[in-house]
């Protein structure tokens, strides 16, 4: 899963030569063997490295504050989102919904690495959501639909249908 993500990321970043990855331990942590230096271990580390390689450092954030925010969400993805339980899903979606109320992208008004990262991570949760829930977490759905249609992001994941119209308008279904 992580490897497919990294190759999609490479395609988005426009990196010509795809890297060879291997995995470590049962959690399948990706490892990138570098020619010069020790191997890079971990999804976040490798992703940041790729971004630097592609000379797109703005994807990690323009200011110190936005860089911190981007890193926060990269961490969130790997620690909270991957391997979360069913009970956590509701809380995660509720928190995200509240957070995304006034933001276009994860880091505010600019597209950063946090967006595709969170998109890849949250995709399995959104795929299983019923339409009523999608309407309930309207901000998450809006952001998700935006990112999945962003040019060059959605490579290996199936599109999730988001109905345009409100189906559950009244409180009492």
């Amino acid at each position: 899963m992580a490897l497919r993500e990294l190759s999609s990321l490479e395609k988005y970043l426009g990196l010509k030569k795809p890297n060879k990855y291997s995995t470590q331990a049962d959690k399948k942590i990706p490892v990138l063997q570098n020619n010069n230096g020790p191997p890079l271990v971990g999804l976040v580390t490798i992703a940041c490295h790729l971004v630097k390689e592609a000379k797109r450092p703005n994807l990690l954030g323009d200011s110190a504050e936005s860089r911190a925010v981007v890193h926060q969400w990269l961490e969130y993805r790997v620690t909270k989102l991957d391997g979360c339980t069913k009970e956590d899903i509701k809380t995660i979606l509720k928190d995200l919904n509240l957070y995304l109320q006034d933001k276009v992208y994860m880091a505010g008004n600019q597209f950063t690495l946090a967006d595709p990262f969170m998109y890849y991570g949250i995709h399995p949760l959104i795929v299983d959501l019923a339409i009523q829930d999608k309407e309930q977490y309207v901000n998450v759905t809006r952001w998700f639909d935006h990112i999945q249609h962003y040019p060059g992001i959605r490579h290996h994941l199936p599109p999730v249908v988001v109905p345009r119209n409100r189906l559950y308008t009244s409180k009492h279904h």
């Binding site: 999730v160 189906l167 009244s170 009492h172």
Partner: protein
């Protein structure tokens, strides 16, 4: 201790004892004196109450009505009390909804079905203190006969249905006393769920209501629901009779399961056993073959389905239709949808009070329908579902969540809560369904939905004995068990079709309620056999 000391000690003890004894005696004497005083006081009071009670014969508990006499007295209905009756002296019989003493007055709310009116007993030249006390102590739900003056009020009494008048009681008699401890309070049973949580007041849960159904049915909401249900039955009969249908009665004890062996109740029938009818299907059709042309029947349907859901009962009332048609089964669909629309219109025009009463406790959107009724084909519905991201095969049956989602999509697109889905896949319909003439995968069958839930399943029936036999064999049904049924098509049978609806489900969905037990007077489900 020395002897003297012991003696001294004993003397002391004795003295102490006698001191204690004295004290004790004193105390007892005081107690006795107090008691005597109290008794004397009570006796004096009682005497005084008996003496002072000039209103003694204007109140009390009546002797049980055993038809001892024919009184020429007219009892007025609470719903008829308006300012027009002001200053009239009237009699009425109602239940005591609440009674509250306040100093020299007692306020009562008297209730009759959905209507209630405020009444008051005040100490004056007509009523004594004892009478007011008696009124305040009448238990809730007791039935009373009251003679009172109707008085106009300047300020509207918001909490009662009769807001412009008040009764000033001259005489009050208890006809039937209720036990003081009610299993549930009517105010709690009518309270909306949300309000209960917010204000921390009690609501009554469904099981308690169903266990004490007699009291629960007295609430304004229940009265409204079942009056509306009665209206549905009435409109069904009237509409169909006007269309030339004949009402029939079909047997409920039958020899073979009509819809399939799984969900049927078995009864012992003398030396053998029989089944309770799962639907009047077979008999409706036999009536068509017997030249009744257009028939309907209203009767119980028994399904031994171990489903504990919000919409399944083991016994419910089925409203079934069957009719012969000329050339196309859409004639049947049109007839059924027109009947449903007449029912919806009748409810909308004549039962608004009841609908509003139910909405007070269970808020919902008003029921919307189109004229002519919307009819979608199964393939269209599949396309709509695919567009919304649902994966389904062409010949799959609709699952309940998909039905509900489809209902939402249809509501959003066409703005209707009632529609017909036509041309279901043949594989998911019963053996007597007529297959589509052009596409063997589909059938001439249809379902009708209200608020996204199925209320009617119907089809054109196979009216040829040979084809019926083939279809039965294909469905692996024992031909012996349905021999009489197949035989009825051997001697000339017209093309025909029909369908059946569940009365309780239609009422539940029309009113926007969420559990079919609310619209069944004494519901039956796998866990409930009484009351």
């Amino acid at each position: 201790m020395t002897k003297e000391e012991v003696q001294g000690a004993t003397e002391e003890e004795q003295q102490a004892q006698s001191k204690k004894g004295l004290k004790k005696q004193q105390k007892e004497a005081e107690k006795a004196a107090k008691k005597a005083e109290k008794q004397a006081k009570l006796a004096a009071e009682q005497q005084s109450t008996e003496e002072d009670d000039f209103a003694k014969d204007r109140y009390g508990v009546s002797a049980m009505v055993q038809s001892q006499q024919k009184l020429d007295r007219v009892l007025v209905r609470v719903q008829d009390l308006t300012p027009e009756n002001a200053d009239q002296l009237i009699w009425l019989r109602a239940r005591v909804h609440t009674s509250r003493a306040k100093g020299k007055q007692c306020f009562l709310v008297l209730r009759q079905q959905q209507f209630n009116v405020q009444a008051l007993v005040a100490v004056g030249d007509r009523a004594s203190k004892q009478m007011v006390k008696f009124a305040a102590n009448i238990t809730k739900e007791s039935i009373v006969d009251v003679e009172a003056l109707v008085r106009k009020v300047e300020q509207k009494i918001e909490s009662c249905s009769q807001q412009d008048v008040e009764l000033h009681i001259e005489r009050i008699f208890v006809i039937s006393q209720a036990e003081p401890r009610l299993p549930l309070q009517l105010e709690d049973a009518v309270r909306p769920d949300g309000e209960g949580e917010e204000e921390g007041r009690a609501t009554v849960n469904q099981d308690t209501k169903l266990d004490n159904r007699v009291i629960d049915l007295r609430t304004t909401t229940s009265q409204a629901i079942f009056r509306l249900q009665s209206g549905v039955c009435q409109l069904f009969r009237d509409t169909l009779t006007k269309k030339g249908f004949v009402e029939i009665q079909t047997p409920k004890i039958i020899s073979a399961a009509s819809e399939g062996g799984a969900n049927v109740f078995t009864v012992s029938y003398f030396k053998t056993s029989a089944y309770l009818a799962q639907s009047p299907q077979l008999y409706k059709q036999m009536c068509i073959c017997a030249d009744f042309d257009k028939v309907f029947c209203v009767g119980p349907v028994f399904r031994a389905e171990d489903s504990n859901t919000h919409r399944h009962l083991t016994e419910f009332v089925g409203l079934d239709i069957e009719m012969a048609f000329s050339y196309h089964y859409h004639e049947v669909i049109d007839s059924i949808t027109d009947t449903m629309v007449q029912i919806f219109k009748g409810l909308r025009d004549n039962f608004q009070t009841e609908i509003q009463t139910v909405n007070k406790q269970y808020p919902s959107e008003p029921f919307k329908f189109l004229e002519p009724t919307l009819r979608l084909e199964y393939t269209e519905a599949l396309a709509m579902l695919h567009e919304a991201g649902v994966e389904m095969g062409d010949e799959d049956d609709l699952s309940t969540p998909n039905e509900k989602l489809l209902g939402r999509l249809v509501k959003e697109k066409y703005d209707t809560d009632f529609y017909v889905l036509d041309k279901y896949p043949l594989a998911v319909r019963p053996f007597y369904t007529m297959p589509d003439p052009n596409n063997p995968k589909y059938s001439n069958s249809y379902d009708m939905f209200m608020r996204g839930e199925e209320i009617l399943s119907g089809a054109q029936r196979v009216h040829d004995a040979q084809m019926l036999t083939d279809r039965a064999i294909h469905h692996q049904i024992d031909l012996e068990k349905i021999k009489a049924y197949i035989d009825s098509f051997r001697y000339g049978a017209p093309p025909h079709g029909g369908g059946g609806i569940g009365l309780e489900r239609v009422c539940m969905l029309y009113l926007g309620l969420h559990n079919v037990r609310q619209t069944s007077m004494f519901p039956r489900d796998p866990k409930r056999l009484t009351p």
